[in-house]
Amino acid sequence: MTDFLPTLLTLASEPVAAQVGPVGFAALKEVSLSAPLAAWLIPGLPMLGAVLAVLMAIGGVKSKLPAWTTVLCLAGSFAVTLWLYLQMRDAGAAYTTVKLFDWISFDYLPGKAFVANFSLYIDQLTCLWMLFVTGLAACIALYASEYMSHDVGPGYCRFFFAFCLFVFSMACLVMGDNLLLLYLGWEGVGLCSYLLIGYFYAKPSAVAAAKKAFIINRIGDLGLALGIMLTFVHFGTIQFAELLPKVEQYVALATSGNLAAVPASVQWIAVLFTLAAFGKSAQLPLYVWLPDAMEGPTPVSALIHAATMVTAGVYLVARTMPLFQCGAVTVPPDAWVLPGLVVPALDIVVWGGALTALLAATIGMAQFDIKRIMAYSTVSQLGFMFVGVGLASSYAGAFHVFTHAFFKATLFLSCGAVMHGFGGQLDLRKLSGVMWMKGWLVVGLAMLVGCLNLAGFPFTAGFFSKDVILAEAFSNPHQRVVAWILLVTAGLTAYYTFRVFFRVFLGPKSFEPGDEAHGHNDAHGHDDRAHDGAGHGHGAKGEHGAKGEHGAKGEHGVGEKGAHGAHDQAFQPHAPGWAINLVLAVLAIGSLVAAYAYPTKWVKGLVEKSSAAAVDLTGSAAHAPATLLGMDPHEIMYYVSAGVGAVGILVAFFLHYLGRKTAATSRADAIKLGALQRGAQHKWYVDEFYDATVRVPLKVLAHVLHFLDKVLVDGLVNLAGLLPRGLGMSLRPSQGGELHGYALAMACGIAVLALVALFSLV
């Protein structure tokens, strides 16, 4: 360790912007793979898994078969990704496109084509993303095989169908060689997210959460759609390999400080993409769907709502980094307010990320539902990532995405194991000392590893990736405020993370099972029919009250406990089985090993050998290593952030571990912060604010329009419908059925038409 540290320090203090020669897309050379079409197996195998799951649902499979096919398909997909990565690693800074078939390809004007084919764009950034997507997906599918076991039957097939479809969509999103395929994947993951959040569709809160996620994502998707259209309008192409070189001229303008000279239609693309990224990745002001998305089964929360899908926004920014470098909101010089103001898109990204990070962390501190705390920490960490990419350092953002994927999946899956074992109990005031219970050591250790990472404990992966972002922020003279916000957030993060750990996993052994305790005993009591019919296990129990409400109940326990007393006596927490333990162990080790990517600069190499590397055509060292307190910012950040993290952990230790006798109480109860505490507990009333400002006015408008539609439009339509009917009625007598009548009518008709002919001759 003594020589490890100095090595780290020297590696880190290399000047960031000492690059010479082309960077970004211009630095890439086109290569071809040895078996290019095999790359299509990466999305193809999950699709196969989805099809198989559907077939099994039709065939009425009532075993764990769908899980095993899913795990196999995803593992195969991971293996192919690995093969792809090795090929691309040998190729160095290179990219390749692999076309499967022509999807949309036509000339809308002579010589001008609209091309969006089923074609993959692969460079090292793609490989990085797909490696952790497919790898984690395979692990989490294995975990889910056990976690979802009480739903074996149609629900099980449905779960794994959506799971596979998600990985397919994510692969399209990440690997698509054009923005339309990316959009397809973007919508696909949104759909799968919706399907999986609403998995327990008999439970009103789950349905509401699914709708909320879907609708709020729609706002972001609108941004993406408009951005893609604008891209096509301005650049005439949406294929990355053609688009990125075309953006370079504008990047040159932008990096030489002449951002206002970039055409507005180019500037707006990045702003619209920012909206899209903020929707998908749950940033201010669109973050509200993610905490509610925890209504879905925990493996889904781990994979989709923590590790992979929510990083799609970060991916979008990294992939289209040149567009972001020349994106801005420019107020026209003749505007009546703020004339001539230029707000670079990257600044929006940075500030959005920083504020979200702080806000979510403060909310996370005051929650009691451990899954919800993890959800807010995801929102907060996503904020960190956006600050990373927003500082034009795709590396900082992508590295944090990478490490976060591992440790957050570990954290969620650990929480899920607890939830699974304790009958759906998620309230940290009702669980204590779980780690010391029989069979729970692996879960506890995995949780510890995850918490250390999230808190930024020295030499963990999370520590390194967070430091890169902090150092980037501190070394940018314009973003000092952001840097301080992030530093404070890092401290808060350490506190709330270990608050969970000390309360739930350490301390005196004590627990109170959740509402599903009874349901669980049923599920394991061979009473399968009760669940197969409805295709869900938890759903019926949802009526007892949504889990989320427990946090809001505040003072409670004794009275209610009496009601459940009978069950509690019988309830025994069941420790996780081999699949859950294995996956937790693998992921925990993975999050530890991920730290190794820092000193070896593995991720850094990947990102900088891809199109995501920020282009700085001016050649000036914009990122010249500023000094902070006379030291290199990276170097000093090690000490500062380690210190801040340690303070957070110590505070949590003091308040939530030291001298705690029961699960429900701790020293923290003594601290009364009044409105501040209440605000944080109620999520700063953001949902209520949105209700009042957006939902209610829209609802009123909808009622008004509905009324108008009923009266005016329907009236017109009905009138139009009556017309042919009335005409028919009046013609009906002509079909009297009499032979001579028909003959007469025919003769008259001929005569009339002969007259028509005569008149038209005249």
Binding site: P724, R725, L727, L739, G741, M746, L753, A757
Partner: protein, 551 residues
């Protein structure tokens, strides 16, 4: 004359088979009598094969129409043949089988039935290949006369007889009108040969206007032919006759005479010419105007009356009227320029539409003819009312889907054959500059959607009513009828899936205007003969690929 014979081998083949069928159908052995329909099928297949292999020559105006038309006849004819199975002699043979009566060759109608059916198809083939007016008239009558008898014999009910009589008298009146028209055309041009008529009309047009007698003849001929295609003002018989005949025969009435009528109208209009010598432009006044009026009235009257019906057969009858109106739109627009093989060629559009319409009709009627119930008097009732097929999906999902596809196909619902056939009607109308006509066509399609979707909703979405009316209908023992429906439904869905649709479209390229009239308008040879180039075109026509998909 011999050169004509060489192009008539399909008809000759079919005619010979017809004669054999007529004899076989009189045999006292049921097994031999049952050979009628396989023989007829064999005849149709052979005729189709001969169409593909022999060189057809119709008028040089429309050199490709005969082979297309004959293949269409064979293809749809085979489907109709499947539908006809079990229809003739059903009660009589049941009585013979139970020993209640002895077999008598005089009382059986099986021979007549299949023979008349084949005669009618022979007539249709001859229509497609007609080169002069007398031939055309005889062919049209050969098409129609057997159908009168078939309608009357199709069921044991009085209403069939009534329908047959009505159909016969009104048909005779229609025939009289177009025969009068033909006579006037002869008077106006001095020839009955269609090529020569075309030449004469070009000459009259260049010499200061088409002869009034010719125009009057054309007008009367077209009006008379309106009877065949069931267009206003000759449409009145349609619902009564369609409802009176048994469903398999109705399916035939909806296709065979209509196709014959459209072949004849196309020939006459080609002789008249669309405007300038290249075929580009409008029909001469007043034929263009009259045809426009007929098209508008036909679509509108057909559709608005169909909206009111409760009988599926009457709905299909009125919709058949409306379809004639749609097709007339494309004929008003014309082929649009020399060698126009894109979707703006109206004549080609009509040819493709006949295929789509014929197939969808077979599908719809196959469902109706498959469902029947025992009537109090010992006979059987066919399903006819909407209530009879309500909730069909619950009882016979396959049939229900055939009905749905038929309705959507007739409606022109996008991925189906009907859509790809209807699109060119719109396109040719627009290209010809008949915007108002196309708007009316679109409005009518919207009205038609009402009753087609009603069919879809009744069969697919609704439940059988509690009264048990729908439940009382059972499947007939004739699997061939269902088979016809399935084949037709497959074509409706499958034809557009195969990238065939483009080639099918090329195949329907009938009007080879460039081959007849050179664009410069230089004096065409008085007796234009099919040029070698045109002949080659015929041989390499991929038409064979269209109709096999029908089979």
């Amino acid at each position: 004359m011999l050169d004509k014979i060489s192009s008539l081998w399909p008809e000759i083949c079919l005619f010979s088979v017809t004669c054999v069928v007529m004899l076989v159908g009189l045999s006292s052995s049921l097994r031999v009598r049952k050979l009628c329909s396989p023989l007829a099928a064999l005849g149709l297949l052979t005729a189709g094969f001969l169409v593909v292999t022999t060189e057809a020559s119709g008028t040089s105006l429309l050199p490709n129409m005969p082979s297309y038309g004959k293949l269409l006849t064979c293809g749809v004819g085979l489907l109709l043949l499947l539908l006809l199975s079990g229809l003739p002699d059903r009660r009589y043979e049941a009585m013979v089988a139970t020993g209640r009566t002895r077999f008598s060759a005089l009382r059986t109608v099986r021979a007549e039935y299949y023979a008349f059916f084949l005669f009618s198809l022979t007539g249709l083939m001859l229509c497609a290949g007609a080169t002069n007016l007398i031939w055309l008239f005889l062919a049209l009558e050969l098409t129609s006369l057997p159908t009168y008898v078939m309608v009357a014999l199709s069921s044991q009910r009085e209403r069939s007889l009534e329908a047959g009589v009505k159909y016969f008298f009104l048909g005779a009146m229609g025939a009289a009108v177009f025969l009068f028209g033909f006579a006037l055309i002869y008077g106006g041009t001095g020839t009955v040969d269609i090529d020569q008529i075309a030449y004469a009309i070009r000459g009259q047009a260049q010499d200061g206007g088409i002869n009034t007698i010719t125009l009057a003849g054309m007008l009367l001929a077209l009006l008379g032919l309106c009877f065949k295609i069931a267009a206003v003002p000759m449409h009145f018989y349609t619902p009564d006759v369609y409802q009176g005949a048994a469903s398999p025969v109705t399916a035939m009435l909806a296709f065979v005479p209509k196709a014959a009528g459209f072949f004849a109208i196309t020939l006459l209009l080609a002789a008249l010419g669309w405007g300038d010598l290249t075929g580009h432009g409008a029909l001469p006044s007043p034929i263009g105007e009259v045809l426009t009026v007929i098209a508008v009235l036909t679509m509108t009257i057909g559709n608005v009356l169909a909206v009111l019906q409760t009988s599926v057969k009457r709905v299909l009858a009125y919709s058949s009227i409306a379809h004639s109106g749609y097709m007339l739109v494309a004929l008003v627009a014309g082929p649009g320029g020399s060698g126009n093989d894109s979707i703006t060629n109206g004549v080609a559009a009509v040819m493709l539409y006949l295929l789509a319409y014929g197939v969808a009709n077979v599908a719809a009627f196959s469902v109706l003819s498959t469902l029947e119930r025992a009537a109090p008097d010992g006979t059987t009732d066919e399903s006819d009312d909407f209530a009879d097929i309500r909730g069909l999906r619950k009882r016979a999902p396959g049939l229900a889907w055939v009905m749905v596809l038929a309705a959507l196909g007739l409606m022109g619902f996008p991925p189906l054959l009907g859509f790809f056939a209807k699109l060119p009607l719109f396109a040719s109308g627009l290209a010809g500059g008949h915007v108002l006509l196309v708007v009316i066509l679109a409005l009518n399609s919207a009205i038609a959607a009402f009753y087609y979707l009603r069919l879809v909703s009744v069969t697919l979405l609704e439940s059988p009513d509690g009264a048990g009316r729908a439940e009382s209908f059972a499947m007939t023992p004739f699997a061939n009828r269902t088979l016809a429906g399935y084949i037709a439904a497959t074509v409706i869905v499958g034809a557009p899936l195969v990238p065939l649709i483009d080639e099918a479209y090329d195949a329907t390229r009938v009007a080879q205007w460039g081959g007849v009239y050179n664009a410069a308008g230089a004096a065409p040879s008085p007796r234009p003969r099919p040029t070698p180039g045109v002949g080659e075109q015929t041989v390499e026509e991929p038409e064979a690929e269209v109709v096999p998909s029908v089979r």
